[in-house]
């Protein structure tokens, strides 16, 4: 499994308005967001007054125990969830619905089973009304990048989980979104595949310059990938601490053995351990 990044291609996809932003500009502004789920049993506060900002080109990880509302928060940025209170703004505009400026990779690949690899990747550009030639160029470039040229005409169910997730990432990138939202995208993959996928993601990120918000419960994954890790509490989700990773880039799996990495890991672990214990007890109490 190899990803072959191609500089000319990533550039040739054409810039979105975000391209002109300076690296420090705030792209995502989550301010005082609370999300409440109503069910027959009553209301549950999933996210409790969360605020944070993500700058253009940044790689931010939301780290927290399961059920802490981190996916819900990501869904609010995507436009799938409406905040009960507060607001999510992308480039200054309030988010009200999902849109092609925010690509999303889900925990499951969620590829269209009736479409080939190429058609899955081409779906976004086709929907945006790109010409046939443009669509072909974008799809072929991305298929090349994720190293699935031989499988371009294959249907999703014939591919392994890791291959399907690569297609899913390519599909999300095909619209050249300014923001890529990733909801535990490697959670269902085996450990070896996950390491390779993480490395490839970092390479794609540096090629595309996309802003990434990445949800995970894996401490190592969060530190390895992110510029900043936002550690969340158990339900109701709040941001406990922001950890600036500050490890040099480009990063490779060897980083996991460095003392600086271990230190950060220890810091996160102490926070998460306590919260996981809480989350565990909450689940038992339910």
């Amino acid at each position: 499994m190899t990803l072959q990044p191609k500089n000319e291609f990533a550039g040739s996809l054409g810039g979105t308005p975000t391209e002109q932003l300076s690296a420090k500009a705030v792209e995502i502004d989550v301010s005082d967001v609370s999300i409440v789920f109503n069910s027959r049993k009553g209301s549950v506060v999933a996210v409790d007054r969360v605020s944070f900002q993500v700058r253009h080109g940044e790689f931010v990880c939301l780290l927290g125990p399961s059920g802490c509302g981190k996916s819900t928060l990501l869904n609010a940025i995507a436009g799938f969830e409406r905040p009960y209170d507060g607001e999510v703004r992308v480039l200054g505009k309030a988010v009200t619905a999902p849109g092609p400026d925010r690509g999303m990779v889900f925990q499951q690949p969620l590829l269209f089973p009736w479409k080939s690899v190429r058609s899955n990747i081409a779906h976004g550009p086709v929907m945006l009304g790109k010409s046939r030639a443009e669509v072909a160029k974008i799809a072929d470039g991305l298929i090349d990048m994720i190293g699935l040229t031989r499988f371009a005409d294959a249907y999703p169910h014939t591919l392994s989980g890791g291959m399907q997730q690569r297609v899913s990432i390519a599909r999300a990138l095909a619209n050249r979104p300014g923001i890529l939202l990733m909801d535990e995208p490697f959670g269902a993959l085996d450990a070896q595949t996950r390491i390779i996928m993480q490395e490839n993601l970092l390479r794609l990120w540096s090629e595309f310059g996309t802003t990434i918000v990445f949800v995970t419960h894996d401490i190592e994954e969060a530190i390895y990938l992110a510029d900043r890790v936002l550690v969340m509490s158990a339900s109701p989700g709040q941001i406990l601490r922001t950890i600036d990773v500050g490890l040099p880039r480009p990063r490779s799996p060897g980083l996991l053995l460095e003392p600086e990495f271990t230190l950060l890991k220890g810091e996160c672990f102490a926070l998460i351990k306590q919260q996981s214990q809480l989350a565990f007890e909450q689940m038992g109490a339910r």
């Binding site: 995507a78 619905a97 092609p100 969620l110 089973p113 779906h123 169910h157 999300a172 619209n175």
Partner: protein
């Protein structure tokens, strides 16, 4: 007996089953145990069938019946799929139409024959309407359930990629539900033949079942049984044909 011997025995018995049935039928009919006029032997049925085909009447009857089934099936299927997608996807449609459809669905379509004759007379549209009515509810229910089984994640993925609402319904949700719809359509094929029988018995001027009824009035029992054989064959072929088509309809499997 070894495994292989047993297998060969079963195959031989399966091949002989229909011929043995026909021979026994022939013997019983000709043995005066039963009234041969009421229960004609297969040879007489075969002759009746042959004369029916040779006279050219069979082609006319076949065409009339198949046209009714096809028109009713196509219209009922289209309406069933469209309404199934609407009620499956939009709770408001479901809240309004669901109770009405569930109220009408259990009424056997055949029971509508008297009122259909009053509404449409003995016209073709009345017969097509009956087939439509039988097909519609089955296809509607399968499309409705199929839409609800479509992974909500797929819809989110499509929305995230900028899929407009119309394409979402017509492509993502329709294709997502297609495996279920196809099962409903196949059930509807046999239902359309049941309702055809009712429609033609109620009054027609041609058709396979119409011919059976005329033959009965003329005491042509060979022709009656021949008509039943023809109806069984057509229904069987339609089902098999549809099974072959439906395999291809869900092309990505």
């Amino acid at each position: 007996m070894t495994e292989g011997q047993r297998g060969r025995l079963y195959t031989t018995v399966a091949i002989l089953s229909v011929p043995i049935f026909l021979v026994m039928w022939e013997i019983v009919s000709r043995s005066h145990i039963v009234n041969a006029v009421l229960f004609p032997p297969p040879t007489v049925v075969a002759v009746a069938l042959w004369e029916w085909i040779e006279s050219g009447q069979f082609a006319v009857d076949l065409l009339a019946s198949v046209a009714r089934v096809a028109a009713g099936f196509v219209l009922g299927s289209i309406a069933g799929i469209v309404f199934g997608i609407l009620t499956g996807q939009f709770p408001l449609f479901s809240a309004f139409l669901g109770p009405i459809f569930h109220l009408l669905r259990p009424i056997p379509p055949i029971a509508f024959v008297p009122i259909v004759i009053l509404w449409f007379g003995l016209s073709e549209s009345g017969k097509i309407f009956l087939v439509f009515w039988g097909v519609f509810f089955t296809v509607w229910l399968s499309a409705h359930l199929g839409v609800q089984k479509v992974d909500r994640g797929l819809i989110r993925a499509a929305q995230m990629l900028g899929t407009p609402r119309r394409r979402l319904l017509g492509e993502i949700i329709f294709l997502g539900a297609l495996p279920y719809i196809v099962v409903g359509l196949r059930t509807a094929v046999s239902i359309s033949f049941y309702t055809l029988v009712a429609a033609e018995l109620a009054g027609a001027f041609s058709g396979i079942v119409y011919r059976i009824e005329i033959a009965q009035q003329n005491m042509q029992t060979g022709q009656v049984l021949g008509g039943l054989v023809a109806l069984g064959l057509i229904s069987f072929l339609a089902d098999r044909g549809f099974a072959a088509v439906s395999q291809r309809a869900v092309w990505w499997r």
